[in-house]
Amino acid sequence: AQSVAQPEDQVNVAEGNPLTVKCTYSVSGNPYLFWYVQYPNRGLQFLLKYITGDNLVKGSYGFEAEFNKSQTSFHLKKPSALVSDSALYFCAVREAGRRALTFGSGTRLQVQP
């Protein structure tokens, strides 16, 4: 069965500092990995995905994520955080043969001015 874990309920970072939001996954076979973001009072928005190829994936709003097969991780990163990045971030995974995503429990990112 596919599953994903986000070990941190909340991440606090100062504006201008780099940020990392952690995600690990478990699948049978090759994983397809995604990050979504939920801003206050808004629906979830797609940020980026890893399907195959380069382990570093770039997405919207300056975010990127690094796929690490040996550590079964897909951490979300940004070199310089903005206050407007404060939101709820969800990692999701799909394994081959399954049609729908499984989401993690979410990590709240707070960027302090």
């Binding site: 397809y32 009072n41 995503l101």
Partner: protein, 115 residues
């Protein structure tokens, strides 16, 4: 731009009532999904549909059913609402064009309270 519209932002229902949550998308997407979002649990898949009149159970289908009579509309039905179904319900759609890795487009959610 893809628009996924959920008919109600807030709903309050009584225990035992039959509840309908409606979702409409305007991009001719084949795939539609219903998730519920609870603090600390993230999003959990209830049901999804990849074609009209087709449906598949997700991870937590108990107490729910769905209907997809038209391509653009996907309804979630709580046959007899219970207090443990108090939650935020999120509808999403995606195109089959990119395969099963096409991004999901979400509605703004319906916050259901069952008293």
């Amino acid at each position: 731009d893809v628009k996924v519209t959920q008919s109600s932002r807030y709903l309050v229902k009584r225990t035992g009532e039959k509840v309908f949550l409606e979702c409409v998308q305007d991009m001719d997407h084949e795939n539609m999904f219903w998730y519920r979002q609870d603090p600390g649990l993230g999003l959990r898949l209830i049901y999804f549909s990849y074609d009209v009149k087709m449906k598949e159970k997700g991870d937590i289908p108990e107490g729910y059913s769905v209907s997809r009579e038209k391509k653009e509309r996907f309804s979630l039905i709580l046959e007899s609402a219970s207090t443990n179904q108090t939650s935020m319900y999120l509808c999403a759609s995606s195109s089959s064009f990119g395969g099963d890795n096409s991004p999901l487009h979400f509605g703004n959610g319906t916050r259901l309270t069952v008293t």
